[in-house]
Each structure stands twice: as structure tokens, then as C-alpha cells.
């Protein structure tokens, strides 16, 4: 018995294919659209949710100074891909938790062109981050430097007295990163 395939399915194959191609093209367009919309969307989301918000001062609720203990604070400075010198003027201080303290960092742009950088803080040990309250810091904003400009910049902070007792030493380390878009 001979068997023949049906000449056509319920609709012509050509038009079905065209419809499929059309649908797939829409998917492709949507995918690319998603990709391009992502960048402004990303900025908006960061703004809306406060993610990566490094520009706001911490608020301090408890200003009781804990005179019973001393915490040693070490300061450290790094620059990444910026031809700057950057150092703390005081390498370390001993403070009572709760006491408002100010330290100075010094930055010099050693080049002949203006440059902008952003400092990002980091803490050792990590859990100290939650107890180290910065009231004022040069890391809250981008810092622009004229050629060969040298500037001293303060950090004003309080160590929260709630800091676990077994933390006796905290290192505050800043890294200055180059801000995208610097032109030579």
C-alpha cells in the first residue's frame, strides 16, 4: 500500500513560516531594546533604591561616649590607576567609642592635567563597617584636582559604642578610583 504525505497541512507552510519569522524578529528587537534600555534603567534603579549610594553621611543616634574602652584606628590609603599621591596624615589614632574624631588625608595630583577621582572606603575587619559612622568625608563626592594641586581633606567620624567588644583594632582604608571620562 502506498502512502502519501498530505500535500499541505491545514494552512500553507509558507505563511506559517513568515509568521514565525515575524514573531522571532519581535523577540530579537525586544532583546536588543532591553539591552539598550538597561543602562539608563540601571542608573534610575540605583537612584530610586539607594543602592551604591556612597554620598550620604551616616546618622548617629547614640552619642554616649564609652570611656571604658579604647579602640585603635588605623588609616590606610590606596590609589588605583590615578597618578596621585594619597596618604593619611595620621597613620593611627586611639579613640573611645562614641567620641567624634577628625583625621586628615592629603592628596596631590602629580600630573599636568586636571583629574577627578572617587574614593571608596573599606574596613578591616569587615563587620566594623556597620559601626563606623562617617559624619563628613571626602568620599561622599567626586573630588576634582587641578594640575599639581595638593589638598588636605578631613574625615569626621564616630565609632558606634555598640561595636562588639572583641574588636580592638579597625582599619579604615580608602581607595581612590579614577572616574570614567577623564580626558588628558
Amino acid at each position: 500500500m502506498s502512502v502519501n504525505r498530505p500535500a499541505a497541512e491545514s494552512e500553507p507552510t509558507g505563511s506559517a513560516n513568515r509568521r514565525m519569522v515575524a514573531r522571532l524578529s519581535i523577540v530579537v528587537v525586544l532583546m536588543f531594546g532591553f539591552g539598550f534600555a538597561l543602562v539608563p534603567f540601571y542608573d534610575q534603579i540605583c537612584k530610586a533604591t539607594g543602592l551604591r549610594d556612597i554620598g550620604t553621611a551616616d546618622s548617629v543616634s547614640n552619642t554616649q561616649v564609652d570611656m571604658s574602652r579604647i579602640v585603635r584606628l588605623e588609616f590606610d590609603a590606596n590609589v588605583r590607576k590615578l597618578p596621585w599621591t594619597f596618604r593619611p596624615l595620621t597613620p593611627a589614632v586611639d579613640v573611645h567609642p562614641g567620641a567624634v574624631t577628625q583625621v586628615l588625608y592629603e592628596v596631590e595630583n602629580t600630573t599636568d592635567r586636571p583629574l577627578t577621582g572617587q574614593a571608596v572606603p573599606s574596613y578591616g575587619p569587615q563587620l566594623a563597617a556597620a559601626y563606623f559612622k562617617k559624619l563628613e568625608c571626602f568620599c561622599f563626592a567626586r573630588q576634582s584636582f587641578a594640575p599639581h594641586e595638593k589638598r588636605q581633606m578631613p574625615v569626621v567620624f564616630v565609632v558606634d559604642p555598640a561595636l562588639p567588644r572583641d574588636v580592638g583594632t579597625i582599619t579604615l582604608s580608602y581607595t581612590f578610583f579614577e572616574v570614567e571620562g577623564n580626558k588628558s
Binding site: 504525505r5 498530505p6 497541512e9 532591553f34 534603579i45 533604591t49 543602592l51
Partner: protein, 175 residues
């Protein structure tokens, strides 16, 4: 063996007074509660993870999670729609009646018994062949829910019935 007892994956039953009647319907092994319960648990888990990451800054997990839950919803929904579908073929006097409900759309075709042709259409690509019933300009298919071998068997059965060969009503599973 009465065909009503034949279990899988189709429920088949004989109509009452007709010469030949067969209802085909899919078997639903879990039921809507289980299905949507599982879907809800996956949604909670997947979106929960995504929200957790979003809170930590990695919010790009979220669109993928939503997209995937969408696809899963589509799959379950589509399956569910097919589960309530049913088809019945009844041979009654000189008429053959094919009734069906697919995606909520009810259909009914009535054919003349003498002029009806029962054909098996190949569809290719490894899909099981389709049982087609044709008469003049009219045509319909039958047996969406039946595995391939069942369709062939049913086709044979139908031809016998249409030719007037009287056999005791038989189920599909005991051929």
C-alpha cells in the same frame, strides 16, 4: 476488558445506546491544586531568591526570574487547557457524530456513515499520525489525546464498524 477500565493515558468510555461510542480525554495525574500549588511554591522560591539578590544590589536576577515563571505558567496553563479537552465519536444508525471541546470551543460534526472515509494522515517530524475523518468537503480529526498505536487501532475499529461488521464493543487496550 471493558474499555472504561483501561487506564492510561486516556480515559475511554462507551456511550449507552449507540452502536459504537468512544470518549477520549487525557489523564490528569496531579490535578489543578497540586499543579498550581507547585507553581506557587516555585514562584515564591524563585522570586524570593531574586528579591533577596535585588536587595543586595544584584537586581538583574529579577527579570529572568519573572520571565521564567512566565514560561512555567504558560506551560502549566497550556497543559491544563488540554486536559479538559475531550472528544467523542459515536456511530448511531447511519450517522457518525464527532463532538469535541478544545480550548473551551465546542464542535460537532455529523457525517453520513456510508460516505465517511477514515484516513491516517502522516505528519512527520516524529509526531504521531492523525486520524482524519472525511466526507465531501467536510473533515475533522480525532484522537488528539491518544498515543499513536491507539489511533491506528481505533481507525481499524472504526472501519470495521462502518463496514457494518458487527463485533462486540471492544476496548482499545485488549486488541
Amino acid at each position: 476488558m471493558p474499555s472504561a477500565e483501561i487506564s492510561l493515558p486516556v480515559g475511554t468510555e462507551l456511550g449507552a445506546e449507540a452502536e459504537f461510542s468512544l470518549t477520549s480525554r487525557r489523564h490528569d495525574a496531579i490535578g489543578p491544586r497540586g499543579r498550581w500549588g507547585l507553581f506557587a511554591s516555585l514562584c515564591a522560591l524563585s522570586l524570593g531568591f531574586a528579591l533577596m539578590f535585588a536587595a543586595r544590589g544584584a537586581w538583574l536576577v529579577l527579570p529572568y526570574s519573572a520571565l521564567e515563571m512566565g514560561v512555567l505558567f504558560w506551560a502549566f496553563h497550556r497543559f491544563e487547557r488540554r486536559i479538559v479537552d475531550w472528544e467523542r465519536i459515536t456511530v448511531c444508525g447511519d450517522r457518525v457524530i464527532v463532538e469535541s471541546e478544545r480550548s473551551g470551543v465546542a464542535a460537532r460534526c455529523v457525517f453520513n456513515r456510508q460516505w465517511l472515509r477514515v484516513e491516517l494522515e502522516e505528519r512527520g517530524f516524529g509526531r504521531p499520525p492523525v486520524l482524519a475523518l472525511r466526507y465531501a468537503g467536510q473533515s475533522t480529526t480525532f484522537g488528539e489525546a491518544l498515543p499513536a498505536a491507539e489511533r491506528i487501532r481505533l481507525g481499524r475499529e472504526l472501519r470495521r464498524v462502518l463496514a457494518g461488521i458487527r463485533l462486540p464493543a471492544r476496548g482499545l487496550g485488549d486488541g
